[in-house]
């Protein structure tokens, strides 16, 4: 491992099971994983291999059945729902495959919303959000509602919102699944750029070779277990 930056997240013996009738499904199966600050990670593997489940656990959207999970000083598996919600607000950025944005808010308001919920003054929040939209290339679309934006543009707004509050980690579950290859590439380039310029940590699950190829660290999941974990040096 050539990367010397500090450890951000630690998963120890994490398991997530689902009951399916009388069968127990190990969606994540006794998994150990360390994520360092500033990494750009692609999670890949066949459908049902546990990518989404793992991201949900990392993001505090779901709780592990067993094992320890920590982000910085926070022990996720010991936190209450309300604490997890606060943690998501303050420390984690999310980009979903679709239905990402609040439909009644403009692009700018969607980005500023998180900041305002965090308690940032409205003027300040709008200013920061405007800069962020500029960075993702949407400077002219501030006032458009999500319905007035293309899929690619919506995902850029989602990216802007995910990173505007400088979270510890940004999680994206198949962010390019609904985009054509050109829009996908642009989104990947944007995320890579943000990763490099802001040293922001990204974990992206995907089937998309474009995404996987662009990642510096590629984690291959199968049946809830890591089958390979390689770091490409640039």
């Amino acid at each position: 491992m050539s990367d010397l930056s500090e450890s951000l997240m630690l998963l120890q013996d994490v398991t997530k099971t689902f009951e399916d009738g009388n069968r127990t499904i190990y969606a994540v199966d006794h998994l150990d994983l360390q994520i360092r600050s500033g990494e750009f990670i692609a999670l890949y593997g066949p459908s049902g291999s546990g990518k989404t489940t793992l991201l949900n656990l990392i993001g505090g959207l779901d709780r592990p059945s067993s094992g320890e999970l920590s982000i910085g000083e926070y022990q996720l598996n010991r936190m209450s729902e309300a604490e997890l919600t606060d943690l998501r607000l303050m420390e984690i950025g999310f980009i979903f495959q679709s239905y990402n944005l609040i439909p009644v808010f403009s692009a700018l308001e969607n980005v500023a919303f998180i900041l305002q919920m965090q308690g940032v003054e409205k003027e300040q929040a709008l200013k920061q959000s405007r800069e962020m939209l500029h960075q993702v290339g949407l400077q002219n679309m501030e006032n458009r509602r999500p319905a007035e934006l293309s899929g690619g543009q919506q995902q850029r707004v989602a990216v802007a919102r995910a990173i505007v509050s400088k979270p510890k980690i940004v999680l994206a579950d198949e962010p390019t699944a609904n985009l054509d290859s050109q829009n996908s590439q642009e989104l990947i380039d944007l995320m890579k750029h943000l990763n490099q310029t802001h040293k922001m940590t990204f974990v992206i699950s995907s089937h998309d070779p474009q995404v996987i190829d662009s990642a510096r660290r590629k984690i291959h999941l199968k049946d809830g277990k890591i089958v390979s974990d390689e770091i490409v040096s640039d």
Partner: protein, 410 residues
């Protein structure tokens, strides 16, 4: 932030918002008007009923209500007028006395029992609408001596007409025989058969002489401009009048004078309230259902907010703001419109077509005037306020089980 989100959501679901506002507003409007209309009917019923004979309130000898006989009369004096004339809200007052007698006609071929009343002819027209229901001859005058007014049926049964004489046979206050001849000066038609069969009036001074009860009466009848003012008379007149006489006086409000009317109104009102409450409950159930559907429909939206770090309780606040705003808007517009419509009819009056005869039978005029009251205006808002609590409770309940959005829900 949350407020602006709630506001935007209302605009986003414009149709649903307006339908909710309209549902609440129209129901409220309807109820304000219907209840006011009902109170109008009650007021008309009370007015017409009480104006016929009883007046809006009375002072009686204490036992008169239970046993209306001559023994239960009180002594009054001219000083009473100086007390009563000072009361501004009192629009008219007059003394009365009554007892049962047998009337027979000139030829002594027909006898009938009747309730003979001694009245003050100059006061009576303001106290009782009977004085205005003379169909033949005239009403009594102060100067009349041995003159009598009879109800239509009674006159017919006695086979007598205006100008004929009738003989009156009864018992005076001391238990001696009271007998005298009276000339019919007028015949009245009250439209109430029972009254028409019994009605017989002479002047109070004739009555006092005939029944040996000088300066005595059984009833002091009060009229005020509004029926509501009558109850306030008690403290204004009772203490002074009681101090002027040795007789034991009692103040009787209209409910005591007409308990059956009071009960009928109360019964009618409570059944109406029950029906209206049921109607409102149905509307509230529909609102609950609409809200439930809309929460289900917006589950993804709420899950997204929660995933982004908005606490369920904050999401509840957004929803509750939405509900409170729509309901309040509906209520306020409903109340205002309802009051406006009611005011219009208070000004205009409502004539029910083809109802003249029917209403007259019951002594009602055919034009009704609705009455705005706290109950008619406040009933729908109160029940909807209760509904609002239910709606909010459901929101809080549903939001408790809210899960954050995950990649799998999409």
């Amino acid at each position: 932030m949350l407020i602006s989100l709630a506001w935007r959501n209302l605009w986003r679901h414009r149709k649903r918002t307006w339908i909710t506002v309209a549902a609440v507003g129209l129901t409220t409007l309807m109820l304000v008007f219907m209840l006011s209309f009902q109170f109008g009917i009650y007021d008309t019923m009370k007015e017409q009923n009480l104006k016929l004979m009883d007046g809006y309130a009375q002072i009686q000898q204490s036992d008169f209500l239970e046993q209306p006989n001559l023994e239960h009369s009180f002594v009054y004096s001219d000083q009473w007028s100086s007390v009563l004339d000072k009361v501004d809200s009192l629009s008219a007052y007059g003394f009365r006395a009554q007892t049962y007698v047998i009337l027979s006609n000139n030829a002594d071929t027909q006898n009938r029992g009747a309730l003979i009343m001694g009245v003050q002819p100059d006061k009576e027209p303001q106290l009782s609408s009977l004085a205005k229901k003379i169909i033949s001859g005239r009403y009594l005058q102060n100067s009349d001596d041995h003159k009598i007014v009879l109800g239509k049926q009674l006159a017919a049964q006695l086979r007598s007409k205006v100008g004929d004489q009738v003989q009156l046979l009864g018992e005076d206050r001391d238990g001696s025989l009271a007998i005298d001849l009276y000339e019919i000066v007028g015949i009245a038609d009250t439209h109430i058969p029972e009254l028409n069969r019994q009605l017989a009036q002479i002047t109070l001074s004739d009555f006092q002489i005939l029944f040996a009860m000088p300066n005595r009466a059984q009833q002091l009848v009060f009229m005020t401009a509004e029926i509501g003012q009558a109850a306030d008379l008690k403290p204004l007149v009772m203490p002074q009048l009681q101090s002027l006489t040795d007789s034991d006086l009692r103040f009787r409000n209209w409910q005591a004078l007409q308990p059956a009317l009071d009960q009928a109104i109360e019964l009618d009102l409570s059944s109406a309230i029950l029906w209206y409450a049921a109607l409102l409950l149905i509307v509230i159930l529909i609102l609950l259902n609409t809200l439930y559907m809309s929460i289900l429909e917006r589950q993804n939206e709420f899950s997204l907010l929660n995933a982004l770090g908005v606490q369920p309780i904050q999401i509840s606040q957004i929803l509750i703001l939405e509900i409170v705003f729509t309901t309040l808007l509906g209520l306020i517009s409903g109340v205002l419109l309802g009051m406006a419509v009611t005011e219009y009819f208070i000004f205009q009056g409502i004539t029910l077509p083809g109802s003249e005869g029917v209403f007259a039978q019951f002594g009602l005029s055919d034009t009704l005037y609705p009455v705005l009251s706290l109950l008619s205006v406040g009933f729908a808002p109160a029940v909807f306020g209760f509904g609002l609590i239910l709606l909010c409770a459901m929101v809080l309940f549903k939001m408790r089980s809210l899960k954050p959005l995950t990649g799998r829900q999409l």
